[in-house]
């Protein structure tokens, strides 16, 4: 089973809808250990993305994700703008000028996105960032596909891994991003970026089902 361009577009739109719906929750999480803007940042960006896709449907996976990445870079700002922007730009490059992605190609693209996040933000495991949800998700996706699971099922496993990674950020003491300024006081709070990136993976599982 492959993901069609429509499904990939649907992934982006579902993520936008999730972010919009949980905008205040994301901001509240960011208020606790950051500066109370993660929800409005990402919602502003994904609203712009949806508007761009409405205005001009994209002809290929590369074009689609490049548009998403560029729009996020140009409209979000803060830490999540360059991080989510780079993620999608790397996904675009990895996906290429195709209109379908099979499981391995999708997984490769998502890993490229993860590597983009690391290249940009230098986060490591346990730093209490979006990395801590995205990285286990990409690993779970690879593992499930290697086990021969179809993409849809593999993405469900990835989404579960992301959620587990997200929850595991709660006890962590942040070492990257704004939460790091809080030192020990950052422990006991769920990372907002890990929360939004879990929505991203869950949206993929829904859209590519």
């Amino acid at each position: 089973m492959s993901a069609t361009l429509d499904q990939l577009t649907d992934w982006v739109r579902r993520f936008a809808a999730e972010v919009h719906e949980h905008r205040d929750e994301l901001t509240r999480l960011d208020a606790a250990i950051g500066d109370a803007d993660h929800g409005s940042n990402l919602d502003r960006g994904m609203t712009a993305v949806v508007a761009a896709l409405d205005a001009e449907p994209q002809p290929s996976a590369a074009a689609l994700f490049k548009k998403v990445g560029m729009t996020l870079v140009s409209t979000v700002g803060g830490a999540s703008g360059p991080l989510y922007g780079t993620l999608f730009l790397r996904v675009a490059t990895s996906a290429g000028e195709v209109t379908e992605l099979d499981g391995p190609a999708f997984a490769k693209a998502l890993r490229a996105g993860l590597e983009g996040v690391v290249a940009r933000g230098k986060a490591e495991a346990g730093d209490k960032t979006m990395y801590d949800a995205l990285s286990p998700a990409v690993d779970a996706l690879d593992a499930a596909l290697a086990d021969g699971d179809p993409l849809a099922e593999a993405l469900r496993a990835a989404a579960a891994a992301a959620a587990a990674g997200r929850d595991a950020t709660i006890p962590l003491v942040a070492r990257k991003g704004r939460a790091s300024y809080l030192g020990e006081r950052s422990a006991g709070h769920q990372d907002p970026g890990a929360t939004s990136v879990t929505m991203l993976v869950a949206a993929a599982a829904d859209a590519l089902a």
């Binding site: 950051g34 500066d35 700002g77 703008g81 990257k176 704004r178 300024y181």
Partner: protein
């Protein structure tokens, strides 16, 4: 949420319209949210740009003008601006001598300015150098973390580096002055109240009537620790001691002593705090060469203050005293 605003989504755009209307000596690109001095680019002078989230006014837009910045990029409230703005500003302030980016050390600001520098290199022929300010001693400096925040030193740096650029120094020399200022400055801040990000609609944190936050930054974030409210005398010690512990300020040329208001603290209290800070510095053998007291790098309506010390020498004092003509800082012009 009680604010003098219309729609929270329009706060930054509308404030920039007001700034534009109130200051004929500035030019504002509203589409890109960039404040320029009206005569930018200045031929032959290194262009200086900075930028950051809004909500810290007068920084940075209020520091645009002769003797200070050539342009400032305004982000959403507490959100770094985007690379497109910085690239556009870089192009428009280059007078042939290159452009210095002055960046406060926050993950978002650093990454966006980094992308801007990459794009500027690719898209334009402009020489770009960047300096990052990271003067906040509340945060432990470490290779494994995001490092220290850029706070009060940024104000002093933009003034001093503006004067260095005005003297006609080249890009490398201007950047060297900037790095020197950052290396010789340290800050520490505290909050009596939280503040409310317009888009969030409620205070970023709750602070009981008898508690305060020590070791805050400028984004309404909670600080390093919460302690019972104390007299100004004790608060001054909580701010000055870690600053003095981090760097030797007892040089013969003294320091610039900057007591900054976070936005909601009256000047009366800032002068009272300055009195306490000056007494502590006197006891520690630190000479005050120059002073700055007022709300210059703020966190919306947060009540509180920060203390910044900058170790001086003849050159820095001369550059500090040089004329400056901006909405936020002005003398000799």
């Amino acid at each position: 949420m009680k604010k003098l605003i219309n729609d929270p989504a329009d706060v930054v755009a509308e404030a920039l319209r007001g700034m534009d209307a109130a200051h004929p000596e500035l030019r504002v690109d509203h589409a890109n949210r960039i404040v320029y001095r009206a005569d930018a680019p200045v031929q032959g002078k290194v262009g200086l740009i900075s930028g950051g989230g809004s909500g810290h006014e007068p920084m940075h837009g209020g520091f645009v003008g002769p003797g200070m910045l050539d342009a400032a990029c305004a982000g959403e409230v507490f959100t770094s601006p985007v690379p497109d703005q910085m690239v556009e500003a870089t192009k428009n302030v280059d007078g042939g001598a290159g452009v210095l980016h002055i960046v406060k050390n926050y993950t978002g600001d650093v990454m966006n300015f980094e992308m801007a520098a990459e794009l500027a290199a690719a898209e334009t022929g402009v020489d770009v150098l960047s300096v990052v300010t990271d003067d906040d001693v509340a945060v432990q400096d470490s290779l494994y973390t995001a490092g220290r925040r850029g706070v009060g030193v940024t104000v002093l740096l933009e003034k001093i580096v503006g004067a260095a650029a005005d003297e006609g120094r080249d890009l490398a020399a201007v950047a060297a002055v900037a790095r020197k200022v950052n290396g010789q400055g340290r800050s520490m801040g505290m909050a009596l109240t939280s503040c409310t990000v317009p888009a969030a609609g409620q205070p970023t944190f709750d602070l009981p009537d008898d508690q305060m936050e020590i070791g805050i930054g400028i984004h309404g974030e909670p600080g390093r620790r919460r302690v019972p409210v104390a007299p100004a005398r004790e608060i001054a010690a909580m701010l000055v001691e870690p600053v003095l512990a981090d760097l030797d300020f007892t040089g013969p040329d003294g320091v610039i002593c900057f007591v900054n208001g976070m936005g909601g603290t009256p000047l009366l209290e800032l002068y009272l705090m300055y009195n306490e800070v000056a007494a502590l510095l006197d006891k520690a053998g630190v000479r005050i060469a120059r002073s700055l007291v007022g709300p210059y790098i703020t966190s919306l309506e947060m009540a509180g203050c920060s203390v910044t010390l900058l170790r001086c020498d003849d050159e820095l004092i001369r550059l500090w005293d040089a004329p400056v003509r901006t909405p936020g800082l002005r003398w000799g012009a």
